[in-house]
């Protein structure tokens, strides 16, 4: 009899896992708590007639192989725009654009052109090492298994193949902070500010925190730039959903799993919130590791050392999501029509970014936040009524555990965001007909991700590859017979990518073989 696999969560990784497992011959049921699939990769209405990518809004990491293998384009995936580049906004219109290693815009310093080309070339080479790992099953440490040693050897070889100079630079900067690296290389404060955002977005790091170079590498995608799926990020999930169904997976929404059931030392299935029990030979969790082990399984079912590592996982989200319904396209200082559709960044200099981060350490939000802005309606007129626009922004830093809680503080923070936007796009306040601010607490409530964390678990060198989320479950198999992880908390981390789901499916199929 074919084995029955229950997947908890229909985030894009859960769906990717379902599609691969179903294609691998497993009987698959996906149980999703929300009313629709996609997790943090979805499109939904936030004001009457206005729809937005409510979680992830810019696509930069979707695995091309996965897109092809699962024929996502056949299931409706199409880009409304791609190869979008970054524009560092300036209130005086002296903006700088960064497109595939080339600087543009009135604010670009001649001295930075060459430095940017070198930075782009090196970061891409270094990022290849990180990206090269993304569809690999992480090796286990301390074994003499050939696969494990081979995988480690390959990593070593990739680094070695950089050649002497680049290898030295890679080893020098991989673990340090982006602030120092940018200071060494560039003149323009605006450019440095914008680039520093890449090292901090979605993580609890400022530009001066170690690990920020690594986080920047995790986002570097070989110069492909950013894309916006037609119909918003939900289109990716809808296509994955269709691909999984076509392969035979059953997908149920509105089915919240209350607990993972055990029989002896094996999983036996899951129990839904309404008491319904669903038997399964294997359970794969797309929920984040903390949710999976602390709430759904219960720490008592794992050994104490592992439970302790799970307990100490860092899951403090710090990105808020801002959605604005606009009566007209906002006028950002100095930008023309085409430029307003790019990835717009508010990060005027390194000090500003670091100062925006500092309060987060003490449970306060930025007085002047940084932003990553997208106006998808420039490319896609299906998201808003004719002539109207939607603005979507990732806003940092808004710590999950805000002192005093978010309840009383949300309006003020929204106001702060609008003040900042007003500086860069005068008059924008007047265009706003509706708004929505999702704090990490709201993101947690809506998407079920602990702490509202972008990566489910902080992305850092101490929780990457064979260490992600924690040793003992880094090969997707949890230290509980029959239980696997497949979400952003596992290698290779968050972002709309689909790799964690596919790798997990491979691990499950290999384990069942």
């Amino acid at each position: 009899m074919t084995e029955h696999v229950v997947i908890i969560g229909a985030g894009h990784n859960g769906l990717s896992c379902a599609a691969y497992l179903a294609r691998g011959g497993m009987r698959v049921t996906v149980l999703e708590a929300a009313g629709q699939v996609g997790g943090a990769a979805l499109t939904r209405e936030f004001a009457p007639g206005y729809r937005v990518s409510a979680g992830a809004h810019l696509l930069y990491a979707l695995d091309e192989g996965l897109r092809r293998e699962l024929a996502l384009d056949r299931y409706g995936l199409r880009m409304a725009a791609d190869s979008l580049y970054t524009i560092a906004l300036d209130p005086d219109g002296q903006f700088v654009s960064v497109a595939n290693g080339a600087l543009g815009g009135p604010g670009a310093a001649a001295a930075d052109q060459e430095a940017m080309a070198l930075y782009h070339r090196q970061m891409n080479r270094f990022a290849d090492i990180v990206w090269g790992l993304k569809d690999q099953l992480p090796p286990r440490l301390g074994t003499t298994g050939r696969k494990d040693l081979f995988a480690l050897g390959k990593l070593g070889l990739r680094i070695r193949r950089l050649g002497k100079n680049d290898m030295r630079e890679f080893l020098r900067i991989a673990g340090i902070n982006l602030y120092d690296v940018l200071q060494e290389r560039f003149e323009s404060e605006l450019l440095k500010g914008a680039l520093s955002l890449d090292g901090t977005l979605g993580t609890f790091l400022g530009p001066r925190s170690n690990n920020s170079v690594f986080c920047a590498l995790h986002r570097f995608n070989q110069g492909r730039g950013y894309a916006i799926p037609a119909g918003g990020m939900g289109t990716v999930s809808v296509a994955l959903d269709a691909a999984a169904r076509a392969a035979g997976a059953k997908i149920r929404t509105g089915a919240r799993v209350a607990g993972i059931d055990m029989e002896g030392d094996r999983v036996r299935g899951v129990t839904l919130e309404d008491g319904e029990q669903i038997a399964a030979d294997l359970v794969v969790s797309n929920a984040d590791p903390k949710t999976t082990f602390e709430r759904l399984l219960g720490l008592r079912h794992v050994e104490a050392g592992f439970a302790d590592r799970v307990h100490h996982l860092r899951t403090r989200g710090c990105v808020a999501k801002l959605h604005l319904a606009l009566d007209d396209i906002p006028q950002f200082c100095g930008l023309d029509g085409e430029q307003r559709g790019q990835r717009l960044v508010v990060a005027p200099d390194l000090q500003y970014v670091e100062h925006a981060f500092n309060p987060a350490k003490y449970g306060e939000h930025s007085a002047r936040p940084v932003m990553e802005i997208s106006i998808p309606t420039v490319h896609d007129d299906t998201l808003a009524p004719a002539g109207k626009h939607v603005l979507s922004a990732n806003v940092q830093w808004a710590p999950y555990d805000l002192k005093g809680g978010w309840d009383g503080a949300k309006d003020a923070f929204l106001d702060t965001c609008l003040d900042v936007l007003e500086e860069y796009a005068p008059g924008i306040r007047g265009l706003v007909s509706a708004s929505e601010l999702l704090t990490p607490a709201d993101l947690e409530a809506e998407f079920g991700m602990t702490g509202g964390h972008w990566h489910h678990v902080e992305l850092s060198l101490d929780s990457f590859f064979m260490l992600r989320p924690v040793p003992g479950s880094a090969q997707y198999a949890a230290p509980v017979n029959g239980l696997y992880l497949c979400g952003a908390g596992s290698h290779p981390g968050g972002g709309v990518m689909g790799c964690a789901g596919r790798n997990a499916a491979r691990a499950v199929l290999a384990g069942a073989a």
Binding site: M262, D265, G298, L299, R300, E303, G305, D308, P479
Partner: protein, 401 residues
């Protein structure tokens, strides 16, 4: 009264405290020597460790157990908590019973060993060799359980030796003789509760007595009054060390390196490697170390802990152990001349596959005679049973001696 109040701002001025029995001990401590046992002063030998040892085998000795690390574990999940913590099945340790066990880390390496007293339904005392509260609290996450260290709130004495039961009977503890090995009973005593367990670290008939520190003095006095005609003696830690080696009991920090204090992973030991495989119950669906121990069981252990019967009478302390072809295969961890077994005995760690009962080995003994060093390659054989294991250890009711 507590020995000391950890909340007091002044507590740090004193690192080592007198036990609640201190006055009584000081009066009898002819050597005037004290050693440190974690937070307490302890007596190595009151008069002469050999005499105190013989009291433990021929009459009875009283050893102050207060410094032993103690914890109280209560709450609805107390049993499931303990079952995840230790390797053995705690559902089998009913109220009024005591279970010896070890506990491991996730690598299946022994953190410590100790005894769990099931005092009342769902109410446990865990005694450990090492300080364990951090690990216990880490273990408590996800359980509805209360774990407190109460070392300072419980005074305890070990009363060990053939006349120990007679002494307790004389103290008018009703039916104390009916307590079976690893059993316990609570008694009304001088307006407080005295708990008596038939447990100990000597491999002989013996008991352990647990009481609140305010009644420590009166317990000591009543015990010595009752024991006067039964040869009762105070006993120091040196004598206890001899008694436990004869009994074949292992000591953390001596016969194995506790996993939490070990930097080099190879130097820790699993329960199988300590000869404690009988304490590992794989029928339990989860306990710390289970997955690693299952692997070890399938793949084999690296070491074995053996009891050695060695020729001649020179204690093989710290000796290297060789196979018969002269290859170094291990080392001795505890050794002594056993007066009761009349044997030269040792506990040793050897590499597997060595360590089968009956296997012959060589032990390299260095000894001094009037300061001059001598070396001897002594023949040794691996034995299965404890060197000292008299029937009276188990007989219930114990015979009167």
């Amino acid at each position: 009264m507590k020995t000391f109040n950890i909340d007091s701002r002044e507590h740090y001025r004193n690192k080592v405290f007198p036990s609640p029995f201190h006055e009584r001990q000081a009066a009898l401590n002819e050597n005037r020597e004290w050693s440190r046992w974690y937070d307490y002063l302890s007596v190595p030998a009151y008069t002469c460790s050999t005499m105190e040892y013989f009291a433990g085998r021929n009459t009875c000795g009283v050893f102050d157990l207060t410094p032993m690390t103690k914890h109280r574990i209560t709450g609805p999940d107390a049993l499931t908590f303990l079952n995840r913590l230790v390797t053995r099945d705690m559902t089998k340790v009913k109220p009024g019973r005591v279970g010896y066990s070890v506990w491991c880390d996730d690598r299946g390496q022994v953190i410590d060993d100790g005894t769990v007293f099931h005092l009342h339904e769902g109410d446990y005392r865990l005694c450990s060799q090492e300080h364990q509260i951090d690990w216990l609290l880490i273990n408590a996450r996800g359980f509805d359980v209360s774990v407190v260290e109460d070392t300072h709130d419980v005074a305890a004495l070990a009363l060990q030796g053939p006349t120990s039961c007679a002494v307790l009977k004389k103290m008018n503890l009703p039916e104390v003789e009916s307590i079976t090995p690893f059993g316990l009973k609570h008694f009304d005593f001088e307006g407080t509760q005295l708990t008596v367990s038939r447990t100990g670290y000597t491999g002989d008939l013996g008991y352990e007595l647990w009481i609140d520190p305010d009644h420590a003095g009166v317990l000591w006095d009543r015990l010595f009054e009752a024991g006067e005609l039964h040869g009762i003696q105070p006993m120091g830690s040196e004598a206890l060390e001899l008694l436990r080696i004869e009994a074949g009991f292992i000591l953390a920090g001596e016969d194995f390196a506790p996993a939490m204090h070990t930097v080099r992973h190879r130097n820790t030991r699993s329960p199988f490697e300590l000869g404690l495989g009988w304490l590992v119950d794989f029928d339990k669906p989860v306990f710390n170390g289970r997955r690693a121990l299952l692997r070890e069981k399938a793949e084999g252990s690296r070491y074995a802990l053996v009891k050695l019967d060695i020729e001649d009478n020179k204690p093989a302390e710290h000796a290297y152990v060789y196979d018969t072809r002269g290859r170094n295969i291990g080392w001795v961890t505890s050794a002594m001349w056993s007066p009761s077994a009349k044997k030269n005995i040792a506990l040793a760690t050897v590499e597997t596959p060595h360590g089968e009962t009956g296997e012959k080995m060589k032990v390299e003994i260095y000894y001094q005679r009037e300061l001059k060093w001598h070396r001897k390659m002594a023949d040794a054989v691996v034995v299965r049973d404890a060197f000292w294991d008299p029937p009276r250890r188990r007989a219930t009711p114990p015979a009167d001696f």
